[in-house]
């Protein structure tokens, strides 16, 4: 007879179900992304996924873990997709591969694999790559540039020259550069009026991607896979600080709407800071985590040296998460209103 501990009834839930739902929730954003920049993003998703699965399998084999069980959990795919979605869509293939390898091998498996990594692997990949290859990581396709799949493939595979025309910048980056170069002679209102780059409020088209992520995130929340705490706190921090500075000096600071819908804000709010493994888990902890991440992301993207701050903000909060969790343990049953 086997020894099976109680309970004998189990809810129908599994890690792979969780991961599949996260992937599903990413679909609207990906669809908008593909509509915006063309099929290149799909190519990147495939490259990243293949690399991630291969790296995962290799690491599992090296560590002597059951392959099938862990490969089917889908966590590697989620990491891969997040990497592909945060990297520039026309980044060379090896950049994506390097990032993914770094994420899976170092950030995930050296810590013991699924569920044990203190840092978000996708964000580690992004940070490592932007620090190592700042130029490549800042080359975004000029919006509205529609290239056929073959040309995009050629760029990704390094077969075609990385023409300057291809290499724009994200709205955030472009704005920062413009402000710095302009040395105060150009103001935000003027820049935003420039429809070619900025569209109506965020980068033209990018707001649709952000909206896609938002929809997916709301669905995740409805499915109770994420709680509202971290995303709301993150977005609130973003709105508060950007709103305050925008009201104080509208000429040099962009509006909250712009910040909400550009860069990695929405992706970060719903898919990255909600990662339970590397994030906070207590309700109060999640609020602190989200709020601080929003604040840091804003500070780094506006005042710092990198085009977007979400990745660094998330990593910084990742390393604070264990301490925050310890300090924000909720009162347990029967201990409310008492000295703990």
């Amino acid at each position: 007879m086997m020894f099976a501990p109680a309970p004998f009834l189990l809810k129908d839930a599994s890690v792979s179900q969780v991961m599949t739902q996260v992937c599903l929730a990413l679909i609207p954003g990906i669809a908008a992304y593909a509509w915006l920049v063309g099929p290149a993003i799909l190519v990147q998703l495939v490259i990243a996924s293949l690399t991630a699965v291969a790296a995962e399998a290799a690491m599992l084999k090296l560590r002597g873990k059951p392959l099938a069980m862990f490969l089917s959990d889908g966590s590697a795919i989620v990491t891969a997709w997040l990497i592909a979605l945060t990297f520039p869509p026309l980044a060379p293939w090896w950049l994506v591969v390097t990032g993914t390898l770094f994420a899976i091998v170092i950030a995930k498996h050296l810590y013991g694999g699924l569920g044990q990594n203190p840092f978000n692997p996708a964000m580690v990949a992004f940070a490592a790559c932007i620090v190592s290859f700042p130029a490549l990581m800042s080359q975004w396709p000029s919006v509205g540039l529609q290239m056929p799949l073959l040309d995009q493939l050629n760029v990704i595979l390094g077969l075609a020259p990385r023409v300057d025309a291809l290499s724009g910048a994200t709205p955030l980056d472009a704005m920062k550069t413009a402000l710095k170069l302009g040395e105060g002679q150009i103001d935000i209102a003027h820049l935003l009026a420039n429809q070619d780059i900025y569209g109506n409020f965020a980068g033209r088209g990018w707001e649709w991607v952000a909206t896609g992520y938002l929809l997916g995130g709301l669905w995740l929340w409805r499915r109770k896979l994420v709680t509202w705490h971290a995303p709301v706190a993150f977005l609130a921090a973003m709105v508060l600080v950007s709103g305050a500075l925008w009201l104080y000096q509208p000429a040099s600071f962009a509006s909250p709407v712009f910040h909400l819908l550009s860069g990695g804000t929405m992706l970060g709010a719903f898919f990255i800071i909600t990662d339970p493994v590397s994030g906070c888990t207590t309700p109060r902890g999640k609020l602190i985590f989200g709020f601080s991440a929003g604040l840091l992301a804003y500070i780094i993207r506006v005042f710092g040296g990198y085009p977007d701050g979400v990745a660094f903000a998330v990593l910084l909060m990742n390393l604070s998460a264990p301490l925050i969790d310890q300090l924000t343990q909720p009162r347990i049953f029967g201990m409310k209103g008492r000295q703990s």
Partner: protein, 192 residues
């Protein structure tokens, strides 16, 4: 001249700092060593002397002074070593002797001659009996130190591993269960 000046200044500094340190060493003099108590709390109190010290307290004092290693206590086991290492921030070392399961001494009723030698040897007064009467060991109080074994002239004392009962039964560490033939087999315990 410069050199002299430099020496003078350094000497001045030395005197000032030395005076400050001297003052501090008087002001913050530490008496006693509360650390010994913390160490002793970890030790199993078998008083068996296997560490080479006459009892647990002397061993604790020796550890606190840094005179000996933390891996000399076999009854405390690897876990004791681990906890000592945690307390003292020292490296965990393998035990000097091998670890034994917890035991209790049993006196063979029919062989005991009532010589009282074991009673004198027992460090924790766990043996009762009077001269020429059979001695018996109070099992709950026996620490399993084996100190009563050598003095016994008729070798009537032996050690027995404490059996598992409902009182000392423990839940085992969960492991991935291994399925075997179902039904009516022997009491299933996890493959520990």
């Amino acid at each position: 001249m410069d050199i002299l000046l430099a020496i003078a200044i350094m000497a001045l500094g030395a005197v000032v700092l030395g005076a400050a340190l001297g003052f501090a060493s008087i002001k913050f003099k530490v008496e006693g060593d509360p650390l010994v108590e913390k160490i002793e709390a970890i030790l199993p109190q078998t008083q068996c002397g296997q560490c080479g010290y006459p009892g647990c307290k002397p061993y604790a004092e020796a550890i606190a002074k840094g005179e000996c290693d933390i891996n000399l206590c076999p009854p405390g086991g690897m876990e004791g070593v681990q906890r000592l290492a945690d307390l003292l921030g020292r490296e965990v070392k393998a035990l000097e002797a091998e670890e034994k399961p917890k035991q209790v001494a049993i006196i063979d009723e029919n062989t005991c001659i009532g010589c009282t030698l074991c009673i004198q040897a027992c460090p924790v007064d766990a043996i009762v009996g009077a001269a020429k009467q059979m001695h018996t060991i109070i099992a709950q109080q026996c620490t399993g130190c084996e100190l009563c074994l050598p003095p016994c002239p008729v070798e009537c004392i032996h050690m027995e591993v404490i059996p598992e009962t409902l009182d000392n039964w423990k839940w085992k560490f969960p492991v991935i269960e291994i399925k075997s033939a179902p039904h009516d087999s022997a009491p299933a315990k996890e493959a520990a």
